[in-house]
């Protein structure tokens, strides 16, 4: 990105500034606890404000070793390929899958006994109910403009991955 250092993340806030991530400037004491300061740098088009953060400077947790290697069988690969339509058919793919599963399995170390799973951080927000009115639709051209192929205002489906004639009876 022009005008920015090598390790800077661009912030998409509307103020048009950018966050300089690793450059921690100053350590003002706040209530006796050291806090890091994320300074808003100046962008060519202006902006700039100071943000506070409670994210600690050094990690408060340590990495635990979780050495158990997962069992990845050919049946599992077939099943996952079917579900995700991704080709695993090479050794590199299998290894990558195994390491991905191993990485994710570290979650099992955390004790979640009697803790209600959280689906979303919005769980205490009320779900907005919309009134039953027609406010959308009627934009056939726009909707079809993304289609690779269209026939008389219908989308044309790509050829089926698993040809199943009988499925068509359903619709």
């Amino acid at each position: 990105m022009p005008g920015c250092g090598p390790s800077v993340a661009r912030c998409r806030c509307q103020r048009g500034g950018f966050l300089s991530a690793p450059r921690l400037v100053g350590l003002p004491e706040e209530r006796g606890r050291p806090t890091a300061t994320w300074r808003m740098g100046r962008c060519p088009d202006g902006g700039g404000a100071r943000w506070g953060t409670r994210v600690p400077k050094t990690p408060t947790w340590t990495l635990t070793e979780h050495n158990q290697s997962p069992e990845v069988s050919m049946e599992m690969i077939d099943h996952l390929e079917c579900l995700a339509l991704v080709d695993f058919r090479n050794q590199e793919g299998v290894q990558r899958l195994a390491s991905a599963i191993q990485f994710a399995n570290q979650l099992h170390v955390v004790d979640t006994e009697e803790v209600e799973p959280m689906d979303s951080v919005l769980e205490n927000r009320p779900l907005y109910l919309r009134a039953d009115e027609v406010t959308d639709g009627d934009c056939t051209e726009a909707v079809l403009s993304n289609a690779r192929q269209a026939v008389e205002e219908y989308f044309v489906a790509p050829p089926e991955v698993r040809g199943d004639l009988a499925c068509r009876i359903l619709h």
């Binding site: 009320p126 639709g137 056939t140 993304n146 008389e152 219908y154 044309v156």
Partner: protein, 540 residues
């Protein structure tokens, strides 16, 4: 060895014949009250998807309409374009709550949405938003009535496991000319309620009766039109059989059923098919079958052995749906954002079984009659208006309404609200009948006449067509005399002592008078004349 020599057509013909024989055998043996015929226990469970009646879709503001130009009712959310978010339709939630209350379900005041993933061309986003873990309602029961024969009605129950809100998928059409599949997303995103029933039923007739009752309930509530042929109500049946005392057998799922009648046939066929296979030592495979209405058979669709993994995950874009009742309703919340169970319960219309019971108690009609009245839209109001305006008893009125009026409707393929005969016309005819101005035969003629010519009253028609009862005794005697003279053989039969032949003479008088004579009066006159004749003869 013989089997090898038979051609494919012969085998098919044999199969069909076997199927027809088995059907006849099954009909003669089917016990409607029990689930076993001594050898097999049948288990049938239904999953019903009903399209909700709303102006806009479940999560987007596009219109809901049955026939529309392809892809014209599609918003960016329905087309699964990135950057769109689902926003729940309040009317759909109310519809689901109404339905749940009508089938005595417990409403979950907190329910959540999930994503069900699978790949299909008519589901461009790759998942369907449904309620898997925590649906909007659970544990209900549907009371329905099984008609056995013409007069006997058995009340039955089927438990409802849950009711959930979900999205509909688009529609795919196979274009044979160009061998491609065309997708129309007009239907994608329309709100559906899925009603999952426990496997409490045991035959096609029970399933058909349950579905018909559900359709009636949905239409009464206004939640769904419940039209199976238009795809507004879709029923999938799960069927298995097992020996009494043993655990449940492997089940198959039957889809693609587009009428209640076909549902019964599909279930019965599948039960028979499974019994045959098991009795011949085979195994039932866990598969999905489609019903082919032309042959009346279920055919293999797809293998369910490897269980489809839908990878359910909570829908991250929708917080839990909270539904209130009078107790839990907070005071500071916007009323447009509130779905109140108690308020909806108060607004529920009279449910079908309550209405039927009321009709039977109030008018003294038979239970089957109440069913016929409820099955036609508007017939109950018609019947009640006629009863109000006529002196005839409701029991007489019901016969005329159900037999004659409905027959005319069916002949002309009209609904009650399109009928040229109003309740006042009907009640006028029945009043004339009660007062003895016309016979029932003439009344039928008047009815037909009024059907054809609107704008005339019954009395006018009676005068015009001279359908009034002949009360003039002299004329009656004249007619009887003619008939006696024209039928000497019958007269001699009667004089020998065979009085039953007099009915034939009465019939002749009726014919001659075009049904304008009262049979009792005719019989009395004829008897008098014949008696006189007898006496004359004796004197001779």
């Amino acid at each position: 060895m013989m089997a090898l020599c038979l051609s494919v057509r012969c085998v098919k013909a044999l199969e069909n014949r076997t199927w027809r024989c088995l059907t006849a055998f099954r009909r003669s043996r089917q016990s409607d009250a029990g689930r076993q015929d001594g050898r097999w226990e049948r288990v049938v469970g239904l999953e019903v998807h009903a399209q909700l009646c709303s102006k806009s879709k479940l999560f987007s503001g596009s219109q809901v309409q049955f026939l529309a130009p392809p892809n014209s009712l599609v918003s960016f959310l329905d087309a699964s374009l990135p950057g769109t978010l689902p926003v729940l339709n309040k009317h759909c939630v109310e519809g689901a709550v109404k339905t749940a209350l009508a089938v005595n379900c417990t409403i979950n005041k907190r329910s959540t949405f999930d994503r069900k993933h699978y790949f299909y061309a008519d589901l461009p986003v790759g998942y369907q938003i449904t309620q898997h873990r925590c649906p909007i309602a659970v544990s209900g029961n549907l009371a329905y009535n099984l008609c056995v024969g013409k007069r006997h009605v058995i009340p039955k129950f089927v438990r409802i496991k849950q009711i959930q809100l979900e999205q509909d998928s688009g529609k795919s059409f196979h274009d044979d000319v160009r061998t491609q599949t065309l997708i129309d997303l007009n239907r994608s995103g329309i709100g559906l309620i899925e009603i999952v029933m426990e496997p409490d039923m045991c035959c096609g007739n029970e399933a058909e009766a349950a579905v018909r009752e559900l359709q009636l309930i949905l239409r009464t509530l206004g939640t769904s039109h419940g039209n199976m042929s238009e795809g507004q109500l879709r029923v999938d049946a799960n069927i298995s059989v097992h020996r009494p005392g043993e655990p449940y057998g492997v089940r198959t799922e039957v889809k693609n059923i587009n009428s209640a009648r076909f549902l019964a046939r599909a279930i019965d066929y599948e039960i028979q098919r499974q019994i045959e296979i098991l009795e011949n030592g085979g195994k039932i495979l866990n598969e999905t079958r489609a019903f082919d209405y032309k042959s009346g058979q279920t055919i293999f669709m797809r293998d369910k052995e490897r269980k489809q993994d839908y990878r359910f995950m909570p829908e991250p874009n929708l917080p839990p749906l909270i539904i209130y009742d009078n107790e839990t309703l907070p005071s500071n919340v916007n009323p447009h954002q509130v779905v109140n169970i108690d308020y909806i319960r108060e607004q529920l219309p009279e449910l079908p079984n309550v209405k039927r019971r009321r009709l039977v108690e109030k008018y003294g009609i038979l239970v089957e009659h109440s069913f016929t009245l409820m099955n036609e839209d508007g017939l109950v109001q018609f019947f009640e208006s006629v009863v109000e305006q006529t002196q005839a008893s409701p029991k007489k009125v019901i016969g005329w309404v159900i037999n004659d009026f409905v027959a005319l409707l069916k002949q002309n393929n009209l609904r009650v609200n399109q009928s040229p005969i109003r309740p006042t016309d009907m009640s006028e005819i029945l009043n004339l009948l009660e007062n003895g101005c016309i016979t029932s035969f003439s009344a039928k003629q008047v009815l037909t006449e009024l059907w054809k010519n609107k704008g005339k009253t019954a009395t006018q028609v009676v005068e015009l067509k001279e359908l009034g009862l002949i009360k003039d005794q002299k004329k009656l005697e004249q007619m009887c005399q003619c008939v006696i003279e024209d039928h000497p053989e019958e007269v001699s039969e009667i004089q020998k002592g065979n009085w039953k032949v007099i009915n034939k003479l009465i019939g002749q008088v009726q014919k001659a008078s075009r049904g304008r004579t009262s049979p009792t009066l005719v019989e009395a006159t004829l008897e008098k004349k014949l008696f006189q004749r007898c006496n004359h003869r004796n004197e001779d």
